[in-house]
C-alpha cells in the first residue's frame, strides 16, 4: 500500500513564525503536491513538484514556498505565518510519466494548522 505521511496532525503556531510542514511518501512517486482545504472552498493547490528540486506554482502560492531535496520528501514552508493561513493542509503523491496520467493521487492524513 502507498503510504503518504505528514509529520504532524495538529500544529499551533504564532503569527510571524516560520513554519515547516513535512511530507514523506514511500512508493517512489515522482509527483508530490500540497493542497489547502477550507470549508466551502474545497481543495486548492499550493505547489507541486514532479522531480527533485523541481517545483511548479499552483493556484494559491502566495505566502508559501516548498522544498524537495529528496524524491520521497516534500516540505511546505510558511515564511511568516499569518492567521489567514489557518487551515487543513494535505500532501499527496502520484506517478508521473507517459501512460501514467490515469493513476490516482494518494493523500496523507492532513495537518490542521492554527495560527494565533
Amino acid at each position: 500500500d502507498v503510504k503518504v505521511t505528514q509529520s504532524s496532525r495538529y500544529l499551533v503556531k504564532r503569527t510571524g513564525e516560520k513554519v515547516f510542514l513535512e511530507c514523506v511518501q514511500d512508493m517512489d512517486h515522482e509527483n508530490m503536491f500540497w493542497y489547502r482545504q477550507d470549508p466551502g472552498l474545497g481543495l486548492r493547490l499550493i505547489y507541486f513538484s514532479y522531480d527533485v528540486k523541481m517545483k511548479e506554482k499552483g493556484d494559491i502560492p502566495e505566502g508559501y514556498s516548498v522544498s524537495r531535496e529528496k524524491k520521497e520528501r516534500f516540505s511546505l514552508i510558511l515564511e511568516s505565518a499569518s492567521t489567514n493561513q489557518t487551515s487543513m493542509y494535505l500532501c499527496a503523491s502520484s506517478l508521473f510519466g507517459q501512460g501514467r496520467q490515469n493513476t490516482e493521487a494518494f493523500f496523507g492524513q492532513g495537518t490542521r494548522l492554527t495560527v494565533v
Binding site: N31, G42, F48, N102
Partner: protein, 114 residues
C-alpha cells in the same frame, strides 16, 4: 482550464435508500475523473476513477459512478446507503495531456440518516 462543479453542498438520504452525489466537469479533450471520500479529520481516500471504456465504473465500498460525456457529468451512486457512508465527497478531474495536477470540486457532505 480544467474545473469541477459539485452543485450540492449537502445531500441527505435515509439509510437503505439509493444515493447520488453529483459532479460535472470541464476539460479540453477527454478527461480522467476521480472520486474521493474524506472522513472527519482525515486525508482523502480514493474511491474510484474513470479512464476509458465502460461508462459505469465500480469502486470501493459498493460505490459506482456513471460517466456521461454528452452531459459532462460523473455522478457518484450507491444502491443502498449506510450510516457509515456519511462523509465529505470530492470529485476531481485531470486532462489526458501533460502532467497536470488533479483539480477538485468544493465537496459535497453526505449525511445518511438511520
Amino acid at each position: 482550464a480544467q474545473s469541477v462543479a459539485q452543485p450540492e453542498d449537502q445531500v441527505n438520504v435515509a439509510e437503505g435508500n439509493p444515493l447520488t452525489v453529483k459532479c460535472t466537469y470541464s476539460v479540453s479533450g477527454n478527461p480522467y475523473l476521480f472520486w474521493y471520500v474524506q472522513y472527519p479529520n482525515r486525508g482523502l481516500q480514493f474511491l474510484l476513477k474513470y479512464i476509458t471504456g465502460d461508462n459505469l465504473v465500480k469502486g470501493s465500498y459498493g460505490f459506482e459512478a456513471e460517466f456521461n460525456k454528452s452531459q459532462t457529468s460523473f455522478h457518484l451512486k450507491k444502491p443502498s446507503a449506510l450510516v457509515s457512508d456519511s462523509a465529505l465527497y470530492f470529485c476531481a478531474v485531470r486532462g489526458l495531456e501533460g502532467n497536470t495536477p488533479l483539480v477538485f470540486g468544493k465537496g459535497t457532505r453526505l449525511s445518511v440518516i438511520a
